[in-house]
């Protein structure tokens, strides 16, 4: 079964004809060419695929594209303002919050979402809130530092 799915992604109206079983992450990557969103585990564990749908962080490997009909979505490509990185992206760069970078899009999207809920998070809270995001490289310390710094930057 194919269905037309229309939505707003990073401020642009988009639409594509997809199979019913198409996951949101496939819609973004394969149909819209937005390959910043990654697939790490494909089993709902790792959070490399996190994007924002109607203001909420979700795992795009565990939602059908058709469920997002009419939704307003933001992916990692939508965070920067032209050449100016989002403060959270800048904080990851400044604090060496990535090594291979595979988990980074999901980490950053999760971090921006957590700061909207907890504007000045403690390190402990950041660790708790990153429960759904796995990193194979960094050991998390610099990711946590990045998120705390990014939150500061977003507040000011």
């Amino acid at each position: 079964m194919t269905i037309n799915v229309g939505a707003t992604v990073n401020g642009k109206e988009v639409s594509a004809e997809v199979e019913a079983r198409t996951l949101l992450v496939q819609y973004l990557r394969d149909h819209l060419g937005l390959t910043g969103t990654h697939v790490g585990c494909d089993t709902s564990q790792c959070g490399a695929c996190v994007v924002h749908v109607d203001g909420q962080a979700i795992k795009s490997c565990t939602i059908l594209a058709v469920q997002c009909e009419g939704a307003n979505m933001v992916t990692i490509e939508g965070l920067a303002d032209g050449d100016t990185l989002h403060p959270m992206q800048e904080a990851f760069r400044d604090n060496h919050g990535l090594q291979c970078g595979f988990c980074t899009p999901g980490m950053v999207m999760a971090a921006v979402d957590l700061v909207t809920r907890y504007p000045r998070p403690s390190e402990e809270l950041v660790r708790e809130q990153l429960e759904g995001n796995l990193c194979r490289c960094t050991g998390y310390h610099n990711i946590v530092k990045s998120v705390v710094a990014g939150a500061e930057a977003m507040a000011s």
Binding site: R21, L23, Q45, G47, L64, E69, D113, E131, G132
Partner: protein, 264 residues
Amino acid sequence: MYDFIYHRATSIGDAQSIFKNSEDPVYLAGGMTVLPTMKQRLANPSDVIDLGKIDGLTGVERDGDEIVVRAMTTHAAVAASSEVAAAIPALAALADSVGDPHVRNRGTIGGSIANNDPAADYPAALVGLGGTVVTTSKEVAADDFFTGMFETVLEPGELITAVRFPVPEAAHYMKFPNPASRYALVGVMVARTGGVVRVAVTGAGPCVFRIGEMEAALAANFRPEVIENIVVAADGLNSDIHAGSDYRAHLVGVMASRAVAACG
């Protein structure tokens, strides 16, 4: 994932009539269980009926001495509800302990209890608080709703519409999460209302269960010491790579005592 016919239900009646007219349908709520199962090809439904756009199935309200949570309310919404926080903080904390923030933004209370995973958190809340499940055809006391591993009294096509929780005087949910998945290795909900105490355990057995001996002892004297010497039998408890049944049995006692102590 195999392909299927997708339906966006517009009302409860619409969802049920599509269900009746489909070969092997499944309802889709938050999708946090259904979609991973379909991706692994463990399920191959002919029709997927999305409940996501049905009006009136989300939200939390206080109704007299009960909190009513509609079926499609997400774990995140329960965790963030000021009504829940004021009336049953233990329920808000339980919802906030499910999985991770992204799972909580999608997963729903209706999907969680319909699925009745042996390690799910909500069954402990339902049974521990003495809640009621409201469906399209009946109202069932939580004690009678969960019938076994992944089994409930729901008939094919029947939909949960809401869950009602009586407001307790004191309650606490103590969870020992699996360090990787965050599902409950053992979770114990203790609630006291009037002279009645309920102790409900999830994660330890194939299905949520109560411990009458602890309930009786706590009804007489609501202090953690009175249950410290009650032995929980390991027979019939879950034993897997995460924990043996004897360890789970031990954890039940520890979590129950800590839950009582935390009730204050």
